[in-house]
Amino acid sequence: MARRPRLRGGALLGTVPFFAYVTIFLIIPTLVVVIGAFTGDGGRGFTLENVRALGDDHIAAAFGRSITLSASSAIIGAVLGAILAYALVTGKPDGLLRRVVTAAAGVLAQFGGVTLAFAFLATIGLSGFVTLWLQEHGLDPYANGVWLFELPGLTLVYTYFQIPLMVIVFLPALDGIRPQWREAATSLGGTTWQYWTRVAGPLLAPAFLGSTLLLFANAFSAYATAAALVSQGSPIVPLQIRGALTSEVVLGQANLGKAMALGMVIVVAVVMALYSLLQKRTAKWLG
């Protein structure tokens, strides 16, 4: 008994490397962002100037575009992903097809960045495979201007990793739907329409909404794909941060980037909090 406290101290010693490492490379960077967002340039005292600057036209517009891009790619990804997931659950639960598709979805959901940008350049870039094919057949996708390097293009490219992510996160909820519920609805005289709007729909709604939020956060944090695709201007927040980081010496706005970074963290944190709230609600019925 008397040895207990000493032993506990010794046990804590074993976790020192982990905590020391996480402090230096995770906690300190986070604090740098949070504190920097409220610090004047040159480290002079507390200020709200950086946070107020988030309201500037070009930054507010970038946040607006980031949110539009994330929301539209999340909604498109969620709807299409849900359809694909539903097609999978109508098949054999342990069939080879389902295993291969979920495995492929796991890979594609991680697929982003430069490689993805280049994949789309090779596909519908100005001399891409599909572009050339369409032009040979008298159709020009870029007749009304090149949209690949702007928001519509980014939305299309983002759906390439959003749909697989939706399949992964939404599939467990669909699996939770029991066939007995449908039989119960049918035996009570319900139609298919009534089953979907009164039984399955309300049960799946929290899971669907939660998954959409996760997709939103995923698109909102993405940087590499946009960085490789967009070379002119900084339409979205991550690219604005790049601008602030690479030209901070010139502009003397070192901490504006930190304020934008803090803004991103807050948006992601709020979305993720809502997500875990909905996740709990989903677990009640479809756990």
């Binding site: 976790t15 982990f18 740098v32 920097g36 495995a103 280049f118 994949a119 944090s221 590499a224």
Partner: protein, 254 residues
Amino acid sequence: MARVAFRWTVLAVFGVFFLLPLVAMAEFSARDEKTWPLLLDWPRLSAEYPGLAEGILSSLGQAALTALLMLVLLVPTAIWVRLRLPGLRPLVEFLCLLPLTIPAIVLVVGLAPVYAWVNYLIGGSSQTLVLAYTVLVLPYAYRAIDTGLSAIDVKTLAEAARGLGAGWATVIWRVVLPNIRSAVLSAAFLTVALVLGEFTIASLLHRTNLQVAIEALGKSSAGVSVAVSLTALMLAFVLLLVLSLAGSPRKERS
């Protein structure tokens, strides 16, 4: 019947959407027939595209070192916390999952001053990125290892070993570790796949890796950079596909 038709139509449409970019990459990179043979000829590749060769070597080094550092840091801690400090588990889990809510672009902003010190103390080698990557892969690696540890009775194994006179190092290294081999392997695989695809941190901290080299090359020789992209992608694809197909039958739903 309608259901079967629906299923195959949906799968066919999505299949085309997801395969098309891969096919396009293959076609695009084969337009110049010299591209693919060049990729297989390492001496010529490193002579003609030294930046790319450097990026490839950097990424391979980073992947191996990150996996090593992640395992050294995470596995003993996860086992130790489970055995001796269960009260700390929520904190460790919170810290490990925290990078999920911090976008890489935000982490870079905070890492810049930390890396000013890294530059000062160890220098500006591209391998120093390993320090940041270990944080980046923490959520994925932690989940894999935690699942592995939940599947076995760590406490009983440790008590049995301790009762037979084993020290803590022996318990972790020779008793628990062999039992979570597949979890450790999947954490390492995920780490390698993530590191091979990393761009944000490397490019903004002015260091090189595969993705940075591909991006730089994209402006001058699009064919070669698309070919390398496709190769890297296929490598990650095979790695993760093997992982998820090999992992799924064992984790049968109860």
